[in-house]
Amino acid sequence: MQKTRRFVAYLKRIPSDIRKLFREPLLLTGIVLVSAFLFIFIVFPLFKIFHLSFEDDGRLSLRIFFELLSKDYNVQPLIHSLHLGVFVSILGTVIGFVFAYAVTRVDIPWKRFFNVTATFPIIAPPFMMALAMILLFGKQGFVSSMILNNVIRFEIYGFNGLLAVETLTYFSTAYLTLYGVLQAIDPALEDAALDLGASKWHVFKRITLPLAVPGIASAFLLIFSQSLADFGNPMILAGNYTILATQAYLTIVGMYDMKGGAALAILLLIPSIIAFCLQKYWVSRKFYITVTGKPSSTRIKMDHPVTKYGMFAICLLLTAAIFLFYGMIIFGSFVKLWGANHTPTLDNYIHVFTVGWGYIKDTLLLSAIATPTAGLLAMIIAFLVVRKNFPGKRLMELVSLLTFAVPGTVVGIGYILAFNEYPLKLTGTAAIIILLFIFRDLAVGVQTGIAELQQIDPSIEEAATDLGADSATTFRRITLPLITPAFYAGLAFTFVKCMTAISAVIFVVSGKWNLITIAILGSVENSDLAQAAAFSVVIIVFILLALWLINFLVNLMGVKKKISFEKAEAL
């Protein structure tokens, strides 16, 4: 009853909202433009995929879809992907939790160091972890041949190898999510329980853990979607364990079987969307807010030596593994011929800067155009969604967040279906790559923008409006400066994503515009491991330089808050 009344009230408000919009033509144009862009570059490509799979002689039909599902070579990858996703999520969440718990609750040394190292895998270029896995544990690998002397054999191709590299990559996500959650739990609760005589284990079991459950579920679902969307690692390590994202790619790139590829894309999309909806609309609603406003500085430090040193050892082991993987890539990039001739050489870098120079130039140029555009667009969307009333506002928010849930492979397939024909013939242009960059990772910028804006009192903006400023001026002069930290966090995140993009752009690159990640794929496909390693190192260096530059700019502009890159990623 109440709902209906509210809905009626909403409907009654629409005409006045629209009337208000017409008084501000610039705002109206903005809304229409943003909506149009979101529709064309996010919704339309997805629609094309469904259209191709479910249309049969002009009618809606499941025939083609079921026919494809009857084929073993389509069903196997689905089972494999889900199986892998579940295991990576469990393992990654457990490790992320241990790490976050150790850093927030246990009195271990080197916390800052662990905190930084745990975020390293975020900037790993695609293929890098899998590549390092081969360099370390392949049959000629550093560990398998030099340390274990081939006594113990690992089969790194297939499930085991993928589980290892994906866990090591995506535990970061769990760590960042759970770090935030554990930080937010008011220690007063734990203190109270302790004062009442509960043992430390009991406090953990009955208070800390239950309060962290939504965070754990959230981390699990986030890792699950990331594992499903992973393209780079399976491309190298899947072996005979076929995975949806790579099979969809091979179906289209190897056979130009658009219908088959689209069907695989849908198989990939469904579990991702389910995970996204669960995370967004179910788990995140259950977060317990225990922040009381009073500053509470006492955190219980688990100081039992077994717990303390046990956890310290786990953290140390994991960071050692991360350093080993990164170190191996750097070492591998300076080696003449991996596995046969380990004389140090700069040949691989010469290759990178001669043959690869065009790739580097294009990547930097396209990223440099896409990054600020995406950042600005995200802030505009956040501003519209939080501060303005107009019909379809919720839908705009949902669509812009949707990009987070859709695996890159699906987006890429949608783009070639949607933009290869008149009137939107974009294939082969730089525009399609830039657009893909912009709309691919819009969600994070929008999320941070919304979160930041919600914390800012609207009265400042209202004051500006009262003094006669229109929406555009308010946005430019008041809102944007206030949300600068979010804006820069969004910039940093988008830039990293552009530099490491592969799963979607792989479908739209052409001879004219190339990307470093595509060059890595080429090297990997030809098993030129050392060259691939050199390209990866170059990507990492560029990312670090760019992050430094963005931070420098922020400081230069006198923004007090440090960019919270971690925060952006955790969202």
Partner: protein, 331 residues
Amino acid sequence: MKRVKIILAISFVFFFSSQVMAQEALRMYTSLDPNEAKVYIEAFIKDTGIKVDWVRMSAGEVLARIKAEAKNPQVSITYGGPSVEYIAAKKEGLLVPYKSPVGAPFLKGNLKDPEDFWTGFYFGAIGFGNNTAWFEKNKVPLPTSWQDLLRPELKANISIAYPYTSGTSYTTLATLAQLMGEDKAFDYWKKLEPNIHHYNTSGSACITQAGLGEIAVGIAFSHDILAKGTSKGYPVKGTFPSEGTGYEIGAMGLVKGGKQHDLAKKFIDWSMSKRAQDLMQVWFRIPLNPEATVAAGATKAADVKLINYNDEWAGSNNKRLIEKWRQTIGK
């Protein structure tokens, strides 16, 4: 001040795009290894002053790509990869003919398309790239026949590419079908399946993997075995099946609707020249120009037992054979 900045930013973007558009470049897809392709393409640029924008993809991927782009072609030439892929492309109406005056005197018989839709420029035979260290250590003799590959000792120790992405692998499939008869060939591959460690997208990748010892045997073209294995210093030795093996005539062709056909024709003529064909020594390919020098140690047609390989049949049955392979193997 703000306006000025915006104008500056926009003009910056335009400057960059106009820079790129300044000189028309020949746009190309190639299936040659990027390390090899760069040698030829750089030489071409040096000789002619024509700029080349190129992307490397496996031969099957190139075919799929030009099919996908048929309404909006992105390149003018595809360079490298076995003739079977070009026969399939011709059948789909994706190519336009060009008869190179430079190649005409020596391109006879199956070295080019009868109607000049594609032009051959090298020869290579399918063989096995074996990691000799593995064979010595495990005291297994090197495989010298297709049947040898079925040995239980080689379980999960062989690698090849997907027949649908790679021209190398498709040539192998077509060879087996012609050698054994189609049904028996698929029976054979089913028996081979337990010995396959994994499939690659690129045909020559298995040679590096054999060199690294990730696998014991890679099935690939003779020149890739030498160029990416033996000559690089890996313990890799090539052997060839005694029952007979198939081969490729590596080809190139003009893509229908491409915008730089004049440049592409110059590229084809250049590729037929002694100068260009001599360069192929770096990769141990057998040149088709009789005046060109053959690399020492390269595998010539006379060195191996070849089947009477029918590339016309292989190219025409491309789609059907691949679907049958996917149904049978399930990959």
